[in-house]
């Protein structure tokens, strides 16, 4: 199970990458593995304001429908539109082309309270 060192993680299995004031959010390799083949992803509209831990969409696999939560708050500045045609990208490349949304964050330091790779690995060990 891949858990890149340079990302931060939520307990609900999303990852976030902070780049200046932009946060990119996706689901982890563990999450896509647990979900199984992803069939449909509902993402918010650009411009929507999200609170930290707020639900921003749904992901449907052949097993179940799950809510997506944003690990950090901010304004949605981009969504990964390619996922509409090819939702399997989330399974194939969860940390790369399978990203979900990009947010403009007011205080990037908010991400510091999230789990780091070691913390997320520990969470996976427990479950």
């Amino acid at each position: 199970m891949s858990v890149p060192e340079n990302l931060r993680y939520s307990k609900s299995h999303e990852w976030v990458r902070i780049d200046g004031d932009t946060a990119t959010v996706g689901i982890t390799d563990h999450a896509q593995e647990e979900l199984g083949d992803v069939a449909l992803i509902q993402l918010p509209e650009v411009g929507r304001i999200l609170l930290a831990d707020g639900a921003f969409g749904e992901i449907e696999s052949i097993k179940a429908v799950s809510e997506l939560y944003s690990p950090v708050g901010g304004e949605v500045v981009a969504i990964n539109e390619a996922l509409e045609e090819a939702p399997e990208t989330v399974n194939n490349d969860p940390y790369g082309d399978g990203w979900l949304i990009k947010l403009k964050v007011a205080s990037p330091a908010d991400a510091d309270v999230l789990l780091d790779a070691a913390g997320y690995n520990a969470l996976l060990e427990e479950s």
Binding site: E34, D37, V38, A39, L40, E60, K63, A64, P87, E88
Partner: protein, 497 residues
């Protein structure tokens, strides 16, 4: 698809001009269609299949022969209570007095059928520990919706309609619970389960306030466990003016032994097609009667049957607070009739054997199968038991999905998998009371053989099923790019994909 099935589609069997019936010459005057319908309603491109009667009969017979049913084998589909449907139910349903009765027959000419409805209202209310029952809802989820509409009508009538906007559901609830609540206009909040798989009372307390209109609970819950804090839950929810809804999907664990009404529930539905052995799914229709405590009786829908002083059965005129009608007439009569026969076949003295044997069978599987497959919450279970293939997944890369598929090669219908959502790699097994010890033993042996394969030859599981008319289906592509209807525009090759 059609080639894999070895059974052509009706469209592929079609030959121009072939037909099954010759309509007689019309004896009413012809009128040009253009005089009867607007031009926009015409289409001449509707390619309906043209077939002779034997083509149609053989097509559907071939398909039916590939069906798996409770009449052909063990069907441990958790939460669905796939018990055997006794044929005496069908005998009664085929009596001409019932089978040929027109739904619009005046009640005075259909007193036998009226009595069935009247008796069932009372029998179900008594089994549920409730005071009255509407037979109108056409399915379990329809019953949930009616139950919530009654809760809403109650709060509105008591002047709390505006403030009470929240329905609580456990995180392990059937998906229909929050869906029904949302459909009824409520916001929903999920109550967490604690480490023993029951409602976390502390978390429940933190969610309780004057906005809570009610809580929907399944007891036993979807983990097959009895909510042993139900008294306390009822007290807490009633304490903020909320009502308790019992999702009766798991009544097979209780029938004749314990009553939701005695546990503090105010309203509940029954799934006649589960607990009371009427046909499921395509063999339906379903039926989801809703029973209520006294306080909710004024809001019940129309279609209730009453008995007059001289012993005649009539339809009650709904009162001023009735929410109206939630279905045509009085519900799925032929389903209600089958359930009535089933209940009377057991009778008051023996009906508790349903629950006793359902619980016994589930615990027998838990103890025997639990040696090889981990039980998610390993304690005395009710009518079903949740196993987890987490260990097999970690050790051999074999998932619950693979085990379920492999069971088909051993001749069994797979159990429910990946539900409840809070159990990883869940296999939800509900044997029901109708299975013998020999059947359960044979099933355990098949599961043991599969778990040995998981360890020694996992590739057998990832390739399964291999003995079915179609092999493993590409469910992801089916969900991502659904092909929902035949199209004459698609070439043969594409249609077969």
């Amino acid at each position: 698809m059609s080639k894999q099935l070895g059974e052509p589609l009706l469209f592929e069997l079609s030959r121009p001009g072939r037909k099954a019936v010759e309509l007689p010459v019309s004896d009413v005057p012809d009128a040009p269609l253009a005089d009867l319908l607007a031009a926009a309603d015409f289409r001449d491109d509707l390619p309906l299949p043209e077939l002779a009667e034997p083509d149609v009969i053989r097509h559907y017979t071939h398909l039916s022969q590939r069906n798996y049913s409770i009449d052909s084998g063990f069907y441990p589909l958790g939460s669905c209570t796939m018990k055997y449907n006794p044929k005496i139910n069908e005998e009664a349903a085929r009596l001409p007095g019932f089978a040929r009765l027109h739904p619009a027959t005046p009640p005075r000419l259909a007193q036998g059928a009226m009595r069935v409805l009247y008796d069932m209202q009372h029998i179900l209310a008594e089994i549920g520990g409730m005071d009255a029952c509407s037979l109108q809802p056409a399915a379990g989820a329809h019953g949930e919706l009616l139950g919530l509409m009654l809760i809403k009508a109650y709060h509105e009538d008591h002047g709390n309609g505006a403030i009470k906007d929240t329905i609580l559901t456990p995180d392990a609830a059937h998906g229909t619970n929050p869906a029904s609540a949302a459909r009824c206009g409520y916001r929903t909040a999920a109550v967490k389960s604690h480490s023993r798989g029951r409602v976390d009372i502390d978390h429940l307390r933190s969610l309780l306030n004057e906005r809570v209109a009610g809580i929907m609970l399944t007891n036993p819950n979807t983990l097959g466990l009895f909510e042993d804090n139900i008294d306390q839950i009822a007290e807490l929810v009633h304490g903020v003016g909320g009502l308790l809804y019992c999702d009766g999907a798991n009544m097979n664990a209780l029938v004749g032994r314990a009553r939701p009404g005695d546990m503090g529930f105010d309203v509940m539905h029954f799934n006649l097609h589960k607990t009371f052995s009427t046909p499921h799914g395509g063999g339906g229709p379903g039926s989801g009667p809703v029973a209520v405590k006294k306080a909710l009786i004024p809001y019940l829908p129309s279609g209730l049957v009453a008995k007059t002083a001289d012993g005649a059965y009539t339809f009650e005129k709904p009162g001023p607070l009735s929410i109206g009608s939630v279905a045509a007439g009085f519900g799925s009569f032929m389903v209600i009739l089958r359930a009535y026969v089933y209940i009377l076949t057991y009778g008051r003295e023996k009906i508790s054997r349903i629950a006793e044997n359902a619980v016994l069978n589930a615990n027998y599987l838990r103890m025997r199968l639990g040696k090889d497959l981990d039980v998610a919450y390993n304690e005395l279970c009710m009518h079903e038991c949740i196993f987890t293939a987490k260990r097999q997944q970690k050790a051999y890369g074999v998932k619950a999905y693979d085990i379920a598929k492999r069971l088909m090669d051993y001749g069994y219908h797979p159990p429910t998998i990946y539900f409840p959502l809070i159990v990883h790699e869940a296999l939800m097994i509900e044997p029901t009371e109708t299975e013998s010890r020999e059947t359960l033993d044979a099933f355990v042996e098949a599961m043991q053989a599969i778990l040995t394969e998981a360890r020694e030859t996992p590739e057998l599981l990832s390739a399964a099923p291999v003995t079915t008319p179609v092999r493993r289906l590409d469910e992801a592509t089916a969900a991502r790019h659904p092909c929902l209807r035949w199209s004459c525009d698609v070439s043969d090759g594409a249609n077969d994909a």
